[in-house]
């Protein structure tokens, strides 16, 4: 089933459709129409993004490339493209779009239009980050994504929303200011902002070191890598559910993606030099996140801290610097987006009903709301990494990669996996099992059809990735190979086995 889509600027379409939808929203007044337009735009964007799969060729090259000179004297281009590393991150973004709109159908009480506009332009910003091949274009989208999320947290968030929004903004901004200086430094060294041209220009190791550190700071804050994580629990917990899903689902992946797209290929020597340090921080994050998650009383904080642990795991894959580690990191990024997205949605659903997220308030929910409980169990299992589900494939691949790189990393990482099973299953036990003794829980309504539809696509994907991982790895692997070969060719010291 091949349809020729190469004539259409598919990436631009995916990128700008949400903005068109957002502009349309300014011309309607009725709330129901606003919701419909937002949902239709998101769905259309998702369908269009599936076009990428139709015309995909399993090579490691950039595909669907569009290049237009934007600011000629400065050699800044509107240069877009996707490869196996960004493909599924783009698809994850467009998939979560309609899901969060549908989730937010009834629970946005004030200024629905602004909320939807922000969700839509946020999507454009994120897709822009994942597809830009010009450093300035990338930086513009990178910075731009801050604005909608700042408003989403600060306006529609929980009790400490303002503090969380400001903290989120300043941390990320602090990370990226030096990145801009280094992008300019690279331009001065190479005369180009273009990712493809930069890759072909080997950099002096000292420049690499500084450039790597500045980029890594920006990305490490975004991931977040321990100890740059302190903004995350605040932002995730205070954000409205839709915001938490986008934050955990795709915004954090921008950091992982940044390492894979920029740090590794552009600064291979520096990457090699700092990889053990980053692995150390990643392992610290895995253990720290898990231990803190264990003692959380609020389910949403628990999920937030689990994200720190999970992303530490993904970073471990990145710095393994081998085929399995990198492919696993890409796949696990998508997995984490799906499963943690689903977890935040389910925490949101119970919060909408009970207006509390304290573990002690629940217990025995299985008897009262079986559909919710069953789905929660599946989502938790995916997150824990049960074989047959997506999380297992990602974690296993990363562990293989980590083992090849350094056995100790793999051992410590495995401890993190065990911890993850511990705190997540403890939470499930606390919520779903035991006696249904809290009277407030005895009147709970089970999931509505809309809520089930919000979760179904995610759960189907858990199984699809879990049972047929090669559908995904086949597309990821060539790009990872190309990346590793490029690094090896560019690095002063060879490091491929």
């Amino acid at each position: 089933m091949s349809m020729d889509l190469t004539a259409i600027p598919l990436l631009s379409l995916i990128l700008w459709l949400p903005v068109v939808g957002a502009l349309l929203l300014f011309f309607v007044r009725k709330e129901s129409t606003i919701k419909l337009i937002a949902l239709a735009t998101m769905l259309l964007d998702f369908v269009v993004s599936l076009g990428l799969l139709l015309n995909w060729s399993n090579t490691g090259d950039m595909q669907f490339v569009e290049k237009l000179l934007w600011i000629p004297p400065l050699n800044i281009s509107y240069h877009l493209g996707v490869d196996g590393i960004s493909l599924f991150l783009v698809l994850l973004t467009t998939l979560l779009g309609p899901i969060v709109v549908l989730y937010s159908w009834h629970n946005i009480k004030n200024n629905l239009r602004a909320f939807m506009v922000l969700l839509l332009v946020q999507q454009t910003g994120i897709v822009g980050v994942f597809t830009s091949l010009d450093l300035i274009l990338f930086f513009i989208f990178w910075e731009f994504t801050l604005i909608p999320m700042y408003f989403l947290i600060g306006r529609w968030g929980g009790q400490r929303r303002v503090y969380a929004a400001v903290k989120f903004f300043l941390y990320t901004m602090a990370g990226s200011a030096l990145m801009l200086v280094v992008i300019l430094l690279l331009y001065w060294q190479t005369g180009s902002f273009d990712w493809i041209e930069l890759q072909q220009t080997p950099l002096d190791p000292t420049v690499q070191t500084w450039a790597f550190l500045a980029f890594a700071l920006a990305f490490a804050i975004k991931v977040p890598l321990f100890p740059f994580h302190t903004w995350l629990p605040d932002a995730h917990v205070e954000a409205p559910t839709a915001g938490s899903v986008i934050l955990a689902g795709v915004l954090l992946k921008m950091g992982i993606y940044g390492f894979l797209r920029f740090c590794l290929p552009l600064f291979p020597d520096a990457t090699l030099r700092f990889a053990p340090w980053i692995a150390g921080l990643a392992l610290a994050g895995i253990l720290y996140g898990a231990l803190v998650a264990l003692v959380q009383k609020d389910v949403k904080s628990l999920v937030a801290y689990s994200s720190i642990a999970h992303l530490g795991f993904v970073m471990l894959g990145v710095v393994s610097l081998n085929q399995q580690g990198l492919a696993g990191a890409v796949l696990q990024s998508v997995n984490h987006g799906l499963s943690t997205g689903a977890l935040f949605l389910m925490v949101g659903m119970i919060y909408d009903r009970r207006h509390t997220r304290l573990l002690t308030e629940f217990g025995g929910l299985w008897k009262q709301i079986p559909i919710y409980s069953a789905l929660l169990l599946v989502v938790v299992m995916a997150s824990v990494g049960l074989p047959g589900l997506n999380g297992f494939v990602g974690e296993f691949t990363i562990l293989v990669g980590a083992f090849k790189a350094n056995r100790l990393w793999a051992v410590l990482g495995t401890v993190g996996v065990i911890f993850a099973a511990w705190y997540l299953l403890a939470a499930v036990r606390g919520m779903l099992q035991g006696p249904l003794d809290n009277p407030a829980n005895q009147k709970l309504q089970d999931l509505s059809a809309r809520e089930i539809w919000v979760l179904v696509p995610l759960i189907l994907l858990f199984f699809l990735i879990g049972l047929f991982p090669n559908l995904f790895l086949d597309k990821i692997n060539p790009a990872v190979e190309t990346l590793l070969h490029g690094m090896n060719a560019a690095a002063q010291i060879s490091f491929l086995p």
């Binding site: 513009i140 910075e143 731009f144 300043l170 901004m173 200011a177 801009l180 200086v181």
Partner: protein, 490 residues
């Protein structure tokens, strides 16, 4: 050169001069029956005509006229256009703001036209004496405008402070000019440049001293630290439209003159003045930003922010590249100033709209603005993001370009300090957005904005976004506009 040619070369200035007098005459006829409306409309027509002439003259080959004291080159045209646009927006916003605040509205609009004339003389001057006269003319008209609200004691205090500082700064600058004259026997910028070429030893020191003293005058206009002490109180006390002018066009004049004088008259001293300006940039950014953090009113916060912004702007001159490159600092300064013009004017006009309603611009008056005036709050968000240098706004392009120039000159430490400063600044700019959207106020009555103010706000916001997104035409224009005369004309 015949008279008709001189008239053509000087047409923007002549139009402004005539407009000023016509405004005064019209006011005499109308005798305050229409609250200055006729005066304002005439002023606007004159400004638009002058704008057209300035743009047409920019296409001519650079030349100097009137005993080679006055340059007609793309550089001066750029700043004339900038000043005329700024004053036009100020006039538009004043039509409602000044109503009932003063009995002398005809004089007010006439002074606004004259102040534009002063800027255009200062930015065109190629002789140190005319530079001095231009700056003094600009200062004196600005003092009167600052103190125009005679029933408001803060306005009077602002004017007195401005005057006292301005008088001292003028004296210091004059002393610098006298040193230059003593060393070279000339006040012509090009001649001075040639005569100082071989300066070594004590002569070199004399040159550096002259640069520092001249900078006292230019830095005063541009509100560079440590010549900035007048700025916060003056910006705070002056009528807000006048503040918008002082913080944009008047400041731009300071940079324009500094650029022309240093580049034309002190080419051999380039490393010296670049080092001095680089240090002042660090000082200005840091002091401005740290003090802005502690303010309690948006207007005062913007006053300090505009000091900090001067630090970024002067980075452009500090990274001046005489041989040219992709990013030359001077281009960066021009782009930054152009983006900054619309951003800051817009921001002060939002303050004006809130002040008109709430009586002050304390932080509390901005609470809940997102609900009471969604349009106004949205525009303010655009301006704040632009001041913070976040894409896709003009402020980002300006910062990007200036930073790029600094990096291209290998001043990496300077670039890093500027970047860290940008983070500090983001904090207080985002605070305004926080107040408007994340805090509620008890008072929820919608805020009305007059049509003149509305127009200038929308124009400013559209320009801020256009500069950031289209980028190319504005960069091209700035690149054209760095040309300045460097030969003696007729």
């Amino acid at each position: 050169m015949n008279a008709s040619e001189i008239i053509r070369w000087l047409s923007p200035e002549l139009i402004l001069l005539i407009t000023g007098f016509v405004v005064l005459g019209a006011d005499l006829v109308m005798r305050r029956r229409d609250e200055g409306r006729t005066a304002a409309v005439i002023a606007l027509i004159g400004l638009v005509l002058a704008l057209i002439m300035a743009l047409l003259l920019a296409m001519n080959n650079p030349a100097t006229i009137v005993a080679s004291t006055f340059a007609v080159d793309p550089y001066s045209s750029f700043f004339k256009v900038l000043a005329i646009i700024a004053v036009s927006l100020v006039v538009l916003s004043s039509m409602d703001f000044m109503k009932g605040k003063s009995r002398y509205l005809g004089e007010y609009y006439a002074l606004l036209v004259f102040v534009t004339l002063a800027v255009s003389i200062a930015v065109s001057a190629t002789n140190l004496l005319l530079v001095y006269l231009g700056i003094e003319f600009l200062s004196i008209t600005s003092y009167i405008l600052t103190g125009f609200l005679r029933n408001d004691r803060r306005s009077e205090e602002a004017a007195i402070k401005y005057f006292l500082y301005g008088a001292s700064a003028g004296a210091v600058m004059l002393y610098g000019i006298s040193l230059v004259y003593g060393a070279t026997g000339s006040t012509d910028l090009v001649a001075v440049g040639e005569l100082m070429k071989a300066a070594t030893g004590p002569e070199h020191l004399l040159g550096v001293a002259a640069i520092v003293l001249l900078l006292g005058g230019f830095g005063f206009k541009a509100s560079l630290v440590p010549f900035h002490q007048w700025a916060p109180d003056t910006y705070d006390g002056a009528p807000t439209p006048v503040t918008a002018f002082l913080a944009t066009a008047s400041k731009a004049a300071g940079f324009a003159v500094a650029g022309r004088v240093f580049i034309t008259a002190f080419p051999q001293f380039t490393p010296d003045w670049m080092a001095i300006l680089g240090s002042l940039a660090i000082l200005t950014m840091t002091v401005g930003n740290l003090t802005a953090l502690k303010q309690h009113s948006v207007k005062r916060m913007l006053a300090y922010s505009s000091i900090a912004q001067a630090g970024y702007i002067v980075l452009g001159l500090a990274a001046y590249n005489p041989t040219g490159g992709t990013f030359t600092g001077l281009n960066g300064m021009l782009i930054y100033l152009f983006a900054y013009l619309f951003t800051n004017i817009g921001a002060f006009f939002v303050v004006l709209a809130v002040e008109r309603y709430a009586g002050s611009s304390e932080f509390s008056t901005f609470k809940g603005l997102g609900k009471r005036a969604p349009g106004l709050a949205l525009l303010m968000t655009v301006f704040m993001l632009s001041l913070a240098g976040i894409p896709p706004t003009g402020g980002f392009l300006g910062k990007f370009y200036v930073f790029a120039a600094v990096v291209e000159k290998h001043f990496l430490v300077l670039a890093a300090i500027a970047a860290v400063n940008a983070i500090v600044a983001a904090f207080y700019y985002m605070n305004v957005i926080r107040l408007m959207f994340f805090q509620d106020s008890e008072d929820e009555t919608p805020l009305q904005v007059s049509s003149g103010l509305n127009l200038s706000l929308v124009v400013s916001a559209v320009m801020v976004l256009a500069i950031g997104i289209l980028a190319q035409p504005f960069i091209a224009w700035a690149v054209e506009s760095v040309q300045m005369v460097n030969t003696r004309g007729f």
